[in-house]
């Protein structure tokens, strides 16, 4: 092969980074560091926790046995040697959990607690824990016991690393069945939600039915309440004392049925937003073409409408699936004995203090969430713009029968959503369901109940406000730096990855990871554990991605020429940022902050492991009050969250309108 002629290598062209460039890199670095500390390191801590296993290490203990007189001692012999001799325990038998016990008398087949024989035990390694009764000992000195005390000695397991927790998890049919249950619930809920939301979105975008504005408002209501609130409403409607119990024909609402109905309720607005966006972008010309080709309505629907909206549908399906499979509140309230993954984490950690197994279930829960996330990202990449400059927006034509059918569909959904909220309000005001139906405000006397009282409500407000302000500042600055920086491809790619990651991390997993990471005395950030700060950090991180994407979308609308122009006018970037970028992006900034506020008010999953008594939260109080059986006060607190979020939304709408009028006048000619 002939050598290809080549030009002499010139000096590589390098982009010179000016001081602005360095400052931007520094900012991006700081926010990337934040994401590392608030996300990557805790997840790593959790992952390593899942590999911490406990087993009895028999080589660490030695025994000595006396004769009948209790004075002449035999040779010291290790527990491992005794076990080998007896063949009593296999390696699998010696695997244990943090709370494991192994009775030492198992090594002495002819042991009798009445005999005058005495026993000695010592550790031969530094860490050889054992219990005398319930007293923890850990010593390399010989300790002497009579037979009657010796039977009360138990060895304790020691920590090591390995895959043991995982093999145990997958060989436990109960835990394993939760995977199946979670997938089953999530799949059914997803199919139903996408169908319902599609019909609703179709009615709003493609029909001339009346009351569109009202329906839009009603459809967004579930976003304003914690996901477990529909569970409470369903108990009042279909529980054993429910006023609509009859229509279930003896089916119990506790279990998959309740979880699915509740899931459809709380995921509906999320799916609706995505599908509605997909349906709103369509080209009238395609429909005209279909009509002129004499395609039936039905055929047009399947060949034009559905393909046009398919990316939105897929995206909605994955978002719904992830929301359902990672939700913890609803199965907790109405799941009955139906085990799902999120509940297993709670049971392992809270019920059995088995943090290692909790970490294992968390890792398992991460898998479907990450798969859904990756597939969704791939689908998003394939999406090409349907709108070109020549497109003609679709204008629905009035069609009485079709419009009425659509109205009926939306009305049904509207009744379902408003009905659930209404039942909660009713529940909150009833004195003592079902025996005393008079109205009272007794259930709002939160200080008399578990869960933190009115203080929890004020804490929630504080958390929501802090999250909205701090979170928006961090997210928007991060998005700006990553979008408007020159060069530095690798750094930007890493940052993008970190910013997208929170979407794939279930809240419970994040919360548990925070315990492992922050509650470690060796961690310099240990001080924030148990404070409001850790709640703010976890909430900002948990909801980072959507805010980041919103900010990016807004920033991409700003012409890239602004930066070079500002640079050529020798204006520092921060002046451009403050004078142009922020005002132009204000609508997006307001959207991010209301999103953070509302979610901080309703979130349960991440914070349920992190709150302390001084930082009890309203959303967790709903959970805890329900857990203690105070269902009506739980509904009352849920309604407080609803009012707060609704008020915030209204204020947001007013603020946006007046700010828009002042800063966005340039958008209209």
């Amino acid at each position: 092969m002939a050598e290809a002629p080549s030009l002499p290598a010139g000096r590589a062209i390098r982009l010179r980074i000016d001081s602005d460039g360095w400052i931007k890199r520094a900012f991006m670095g700081v926010i990337a560091l934040y994401l590392m500390v608030a996300l990557a390191l805790p997840l790593y801590a959790m992952l390593s926790k899942s590999f911490v296993t406990y087993s009895f290490d028999l080589a660490r203990y030695e025994f000595q046995v006396s004769d009948e007189s209790g004075t002449v001692w035999g040779e010291p012999v290790s527990a491992a040697a005794l076990n080998a001799q007896l063949g009593k325990f296999s390696d699998a038998d010696l695997a244990s959990s943090t709370d494991g016990r192994l009775s030492v008398t198992d090594f002495f087949p002819d042991f009798s607690f009445r005999s005058p024989v005495k026993y000695r035990i010592r550790g031969v390694a530094d860490n050889a824990p054992y219990l005398v009764g319930l007293d923890l000992r850990n010593s390399t000195e010989w300790q002497e016991f009579d037979s009657n005390t010796f039977r009360r000695i138990n060895l304790r397991p020691v920590a090591s690393t390995g895959l043991q927790n995982y093999t145990e998890y997958f060989s436990n049919p109960v835990l394993f069945s939760s995977i199946e249950n979670s997938l089953y619930i999530a799949t059914i809920s997803t199919v139903l939600t996408v169908i319902f939301a599609f019909g609703f979105a179709y009615a709003i975008n493609r029909s001339c039915m009346p009351f569109k504005g009202a329906f839009r408002l009603i459809a967004m209501m579930p976003i304003l309440v914690p996901s477990l609130l529909p569970g409470i409403a369903l108990i009042y409607m279909f529980g054993n004392q429910g006023f609509l119990k009859g229509i279930l024909f003896g089916q119990s609402i506790y279990g998959p049925l309740g979880i699915v109905i509740g899931s459809v309720f709380f995921t509906f607005p999320h799916a609706l937003i995505i599908i509605s966006t997909a349906l709103s972008i369509s080209d009238q010309r395609q429909y005209e073409a279909a009509e002129s080709l004499r395609a039936s309505k039905w055929r047009t629907f399947w060949t034009v409408t559905i393909p046009g909206a398919r990316y939105g549908l897929i995206s909605a399906a994955f978002v719904t699936f992830t929301l359902v499979i990672t939700d913890f509140g609803l199965p907790k309230v109405i799941g009955g004995q139906y085990n799902v993954l999120a509940i297993d984490i709670y049971k392992q950690v809270i019920g059995q203090q088995n943090f290692e197994m909790g970490a294992v279930v968390s890792v398992v829960l991460l898998i479907p969430a990450i798969v859904a996330f990756v597939v969704d990202r791939q689908v998003q990449k394939k999406q090409v713009s349907l709108l070109s400059a020549r497109s003609v927006p679709y204008e629905p034509k009035p069609n009485r029968r079709f419009d009425m059918a659509m109205l009926a569909w939306c009305a049904a959904m509207g009744v379902f959503i408003a009905g659930i909220i209404g039942v909660c309000q009713f529940a909150a005001l009833i004195n003592y369901w079902p025996y005393d139906l008079s109205f009272s405000l007794r259930n709002y006397d939160f200080n008399k109940m578990d869960g933190g009282g009115w203080g929890a409500y004020w804490n929630s407000l504080e958390l929501a406000a802090l999250t909205a302000v701090i979170g928006t500042a961090i997210i928007f600055t991060g998005a700006y730096m990553v979008e408007k920086i020159d060069g530095f491809k690798t750094g930007r790619a890493v940052f993008q990855f970190l910013a997208m990651l929170p979407m794939a991390i279930p809240g419970m997993v994040l919360g548990l990871a925070y315990i492992f990471f922050f509650n470690n005395p060796a961690n310099p950030l240990n001080g924030i554990y148990g404070t409001m700060a850790i709640l703010v950090v976890s909430t900002v991180t948990h909801f980072y991605t959507v805010g980041h994407l919103t900010a990016l979308t807004a920033l991409k609308q700003i012409d890239a020429e602004f930066e070079p122009v500002a640079a050529s006018l020798r204006q520092p970037f921060w002046r451009l940022f403050a004078r142009v970028t922020v005002p132009v992006c204000l609508p997006a900034i307001l959207d991010i902050s209301i999103y953070m506020f509302v979610n901080a008010m309703t979130t349960v999953s991440a914070v349920v492991f992190l709150y302390s008594t001084h930082t009890a939260l309203a959303s967790v109080a709903v959970l805890n009050m329900d857990d203690a059986g105070d269902i009506a006060p739980a509904a009352a607190m849920g309604m407080m969250i609803f009012y707060t979020n609704a008020t915030a939304r209204v204020l947001h709408a007013f603020a946006s309108r007046s700010i828009l009028r002042r800063t966005q006048a340039w958008r209209v000619r």
Binding site: L134, L136, N240, K347, T613, G629
Partner: protein, 340 residues
């Protein structure tokens, strides 16, 4: 004029801050005592010790225990006041408690203290298992009230019994461990096998079965007497039934967390927690307290509770807890579908 005013104000502020400095030792106290009682407990304690301020950290038994274990290497609590003894035993085996013999220990019922000397924990009051039975719903279904644990397995109760899940509730574990102690290993599991057929749901919280019975969501709930009495006071049509075979119990207890920086104040609190005055304070909600002879009957509490309390072997329960829960989960947790 202005100057002297500022001066006076400054002196006043200084005086305020110094008294605050002198007067207050703050104790972080972890507890699972009912939320409605916390304020009363702190106020009564402050009558005698106004210089110690209690910062409560309250949650359910499981959560508080998990929290303490999670903080094992970096304890945040000074004192634990009002946590199940079973949980304190778990903490003791982890070496997390500071043994201390409070003044007045001798007056206490020996059942109400750690048997080691000095004890790692001292009891406050007993917290006994009971069945809450909804008379209105029972009548609607033509059922009669149970009088024993054995009655709960009667076929006509199928689907009408709710009990707490021992894996997530301290009350649930208390029930299971008492059945195993009363009926023996084999008999206990056989009993739970037949009881399982009647169970409508296993709840995560120990008070929930009683509240469900009070609200008519179920006819009878296996719970504890304290909860039943409260619900009855609130106007619920429930009866509190003490099964005739005997009842499992646990106690709320107090302990000092090893490594506390406020050891003196912590000891003061533990000393106070076993005074007759404190016992009278517990007696408002609990019928059996740590010093014999003090308790007065509590409204809606059955009178025969003390004689029905079994001789609970806490050490056995603590050492076998992991094995019992594993066996329980294997047998009953796989019941994935709730019954109608």
């Amino acid at each position: 004029m202005t100057n002297s005013k500022t001066l006076a104000l400054g002196a006043f502020a200084l005086a305020l801050s110094t008294t605050a400095l002198w007067a207050e030792t703050e104790l972080t106290v972890y507890t699972a005592v009912e939320a409605e009682d916390l304020e009363r407990y702190a106020a009564t304690f402050n009558e005698d010790h106004p210089d110690i301020k209690i910062n409560w950290v309250r949650d359910s038994t499981g959560v508080i225990t998990a929290k303490l274990l999670a903080e094992k290497n970096n304890p945040q609590a000074d004192v634990i006041w009002g946590l199940a003894a079973t949980s304190l035993l778990v903490l003791k085996t982890e070496g997390m408690l500071e043994p201390y013999a409070p003044a007045g220990l001798d007056a206490m019922d020996p059942k109400f203290r750690d048997s080691d000397n000095p004890p790692s924990w001292v009891g406050m009051d007993a917290w006994v298992a009971a069945i809450c039975y909804n008379t209105v719903e029972g009548e609607k279904l033509g059922l009669s009230a149970p009088t024993s644990w054995a009655d709960l397995t009667k076929p006509e109760y199928a689907g009408h019994v709710v009990m707490p899940n021992p894996a997530s509730s301290g009350t649930g574990f208390l029930d299971v461990s008492s059945w195993l102690q009363m009926m023996g290993e084999e008999g206990g599991w056989a009993y739970m096998d037949s009881l399982h057929n009647n169970i409508a749901a296993y709840t995560h919280s120990g008070s929930k079965p009683c509240k469900m019975a009070a609200a008519g969501e179920t006819v009878m709930g296996v719970s504890f007497a304290f909860r039943g009495a409260k619900e009855k006071t609130n106007g619920a049509p429930v009866e509190i039934i003490i099964p005739e075979e005997g009842i499992g119990w646990d106690m709320e207890a107090t302990a000092i967390v090893a490594g506390t920086a406020n050891e003196e104040a912590a000891k003061t609190l533990v000393d106070w927690s076993v005074t007759p005055k404190a016992m009278e304070m517990y007696n408002v909600g609990y019928a059996v307290v740590g010093i014999p002879g003090i308790a007065k009957p509590v409204e809606h509490f059955p009178a025969n509770i003390p004689e029905k309390m079994i001789n609970n072997d806490f050490e056995w329960a603590a050492n076998n807890r992991a094995a019992i829960l594993e066996e329980w989960s294997k047998r009953y947790d796989s019941k994935s579908e709730p019954k109608g």
